[in-house]
Subunit: 463 residues, 2 copies
């Protein structure tokens, strides 16, 4: 659509929505700017208007209208996405879903729940506390569950429980033409037809809007134990991880921080952990299972030449270890106050992890960018925060080049350009390299489901 | 296409394929009949020809040709599917993939492997034995892994390891126009674009042909313990299952057999197990974890009024319990020798399981059909074998009516018409009831991916 016809469409949309849903649409600069960027490091791009939906029916009404008018709609949850998934780079309406924050049902006997898309995982887990159940996907951000499904989010406990892809049973979705559908059943499994749930998870709002989710829940484990463990090389740390996974040790989390990240943590927290490649380990289960697995881990650590193996002997010590891990991002940033970080993540087969980390380490060194590394090493997934001065264009370009090298390296190693952050605008240039002919099939599906290209257009790939 | 133009197309296809791939195409009655029905109870429908593919490139050549000619292609693996997925009810070419049975790579460090689609799970596990790894999806049939992915298969260990949907990392797929694509990466997770892997898993050959699969593997557990446990009611058995799941007991399998199934087993095996609702339990993990979980299960059994709790104290006893469970289907059939069984499965949220089993029990009783029941009760999934005389049309109709009642009941309980057998021709009449408007989206995708409707046409749904 050319600019003038989009402007006309917008005028009609604003008039229609304002009349029909008083107080739910704004074109004010402040709110538009708040919906321009989220937490991402990419350039902001404000929408023309922001619509606050309060129900699935309202989402449907909005989409029906915008589909008729050929006007872009960009779903917006907590705005915690990193790869510019919420940027309105083609204008249109940002669809704010945060008012849809109701927990609709918790079924303890079925160990599942149904929530509106705007519920955050923190809100859900607070609500679940008394039931003894919890929802395990554990990431850094205060993200909404709808947004987490849309980007196929995962996190520290994915090694044990899986990612959003594994834990959503069914969803209510509004399609681009306004039709409201339900994907999947509430049963634990089904072989009845195409897996629309999984097709929509990770589609980043390009195929429709997720308005409700039915999620699997789990019992709080009886016992949890943590440990930290330092190595001279990342290679040795990874070897230990592989062995622990092969032995089926009940790992709830197994996280890696590199030397620089540990320096950052010490500087930030005033601690004196060895500034070496460090594993953060978390075991959960029954008491005898955890106790046994902890001895196995200790043995594996020793066999792989660990320098130290510090167990958390108390509940406080357990909490402290995970506070240290969760402070990693803030600690990173304090390595270079005021610097903006290009936050990136890739995922490779675990056998390739030492090589990938080693090779990108050389590239980082050459680039002179400060870039600490943390990773969900049990999944072969790691994050690099490339700290650079946003005002210094030359440095920013160097940082972006490191990111590009990392992405290409991960793909060459049979891995992926992103393990959990998604594509958005940030990684779409690499989709052809990563997917080859499969990208054409993605485009075929997009064209069929959203023929007018109104849903988050230009994200993941261009048509 | 009308009959005469399909006949012309077939003539061209046969000539072309015979010339290009000598010895790989047959129109002989014997082989066509072998590809007409598989293990399903549905009426046979022989293809016009059978093509034995030996590589992905050959599959591509076949599809390119048949797409040009608008000729149906029906993928065929072990033929172990139940809902008429392999019937050539619109004629065309049965694509036999059993010659593509090579294990291409086993990567012990990454705990994954890549296989051609015609490899059976038994073949893979035999090959893996020396590595200490195994592939866990455990179903009754000697199925091929390609077929298992195509029907989104699961089985007794799904409660612990998940189904095919959870354990396939990536696939090579030939699309209807002959293009060969690779879906997904070999890394443990990815957020890079649409989840084509999951879209194709469970698509029953209607969107393309899966030719290679990269699968997750797991370490053989150190220790395994089994037990059998009888209850007066299915309700009590289910209550125990729910409690065990909530407590996070390391269940590898938790299977249910009803009273009639236990009678069948006793008659078949000459055993004297209580003829009551019975749970078959399997715990795997480290020795202390299993020992502890076994005491928990024993306690839960007692609290829920179990009549007996028989532990397998030896390796032989462990094997015996699982031999009994695996003999269930044969034992069922011996309840009425010569009778054909309508084998059906549904899956419901676990809280609805007692009611579902109770209500269908009443329907079965009224119908006077003999119908033993076994189930993967940890997933809310159960199978009913409706034993009836294939020659007795009236009885066959009664048995089909029971199946229909069961399907509608499961859907009304927020469950699904099939937990693991798939749709094929057998359950397609219920897709509209189960999926509502979502069925339209499935059709949209099918039309976009396979515009000439050559891939297993008329399965899952009609266009």
């Amino acid at each position: 659509m050319d600019g003038s016809s989009q402007a006309d469409a917008l005028t009609i949309a604003i008039e229609t929505l304002t009349a029909r849903f008083p107080g739910q649409l704004t074109t004010g600069r402040g709110l538009r700017d708040e919906h321009a960027q989220g937490d991402s490091w990419h350039l902001p791009a404000a929408p023309d208007a922001v619509f606050f939906a309060e129900s699935g029916e309202e989402v449907s009404a909005l989409l029906t209208l915008c589909n008729d008018l050929r006007l872009p709609v960009i779903p917006f949850g907590a705005g915690s996405c990193i790869e510019a998934q919420v940027q309105a780079h083609r204008g249109g309406i940002s669809l704010d879903l945060t008012r849809m924050d109701e927990i609709l049902a918790v079924r303890t006997e079925d160990m599942d729940c149904t929530v509106q898309c705007g519920v955050t995982r923190q809100q859900l887990n607070a609500d679940l506390r008394a039931t003894g159940l919890f929802f395990p996907v554990d990431l850094g951000a205060q993200a909404t569950l709808g947004g987490m499904a849309a980007t196929r989010a995962s996190g520290t406990t994915t090694v044990k429980y899986g990612s959003m892809k594994d834990l959503v049973l069914s969803m209510t979705v509004v399609l681009p033409d306004g039709e409201i559908i339900k994907t999947g059943a509430r049963s634990r499994k089904s072989s009845a037809g195409y897996d629309l749930t999984r097709l929509l998870i990770g589609s980043e709002g390009t195929l429709g809007v997720i308005t409700e989710l039915t999620l699997r829940l789990f019992g709080q484990p009886d016992c949890a134990q943590a440990a930290m463990c330092s190595f001279d090389t990342i290679d040795a740390a990874t070897r230990m991880v592989v062995e622990a996974l092969q032995m089926g040790v009940g790992l709830n989390r197994i996280e890696l921080a590199d030397q620089l990240q540990m320096q950052a943590i010490n500087a930030y927290a005033g601690s004196d952990w060895p500034e070496k490649a460090t594993l953060f380990l978390d075991l959960t289960g029954s008491e005898p299972a955890v106790a046994y697995d902890l001895t196995i881990l200790e043995e594996l650590a020793r066999e792989n030449g660990a320098l130290r193996f510090d167990k958390a002997e108390t509940r406080d010590a357990y909490g402290a270890i995970w506070r240290i891990r969760h402070s990693a991002l803030y600690a990173s940033r304090s390595l270079r106050p005021g610097a903006k970080g290009i936050s990136t993540d890739v995922c490779v087969p675990i056998s390739r992890l030492p090589e990938c980390i080693h090779e990108i380490g050389k590239v980082v060194k050459e680039s002179r960018i400060v870039a600490p590394l943390v990773g969900h090493v049990g999944d072969g997934n790691f994050h690099l925060v490339l700290l650079c001065d946003p005002e210094d264009e030359e440095e920013f370009t160097r940082a972006k080049a490191v990111n590009e090298t990392l992405i290409k390296m991960a793909i060459a190693m049979e891995g992926t350009s992103t393990g959990e952050h998604g594509v958005g605008l940030g990684k779409k240039d690499y989709m052809a390299l990563e997917h080859g002919g499969a990208l054409k099939l993605m485009r075929t599906i997009k064209r069929a489901v959203d023929p007018n290209d109104i849903m988050n257009p230009g994200k993941i790939f261009d048509l």
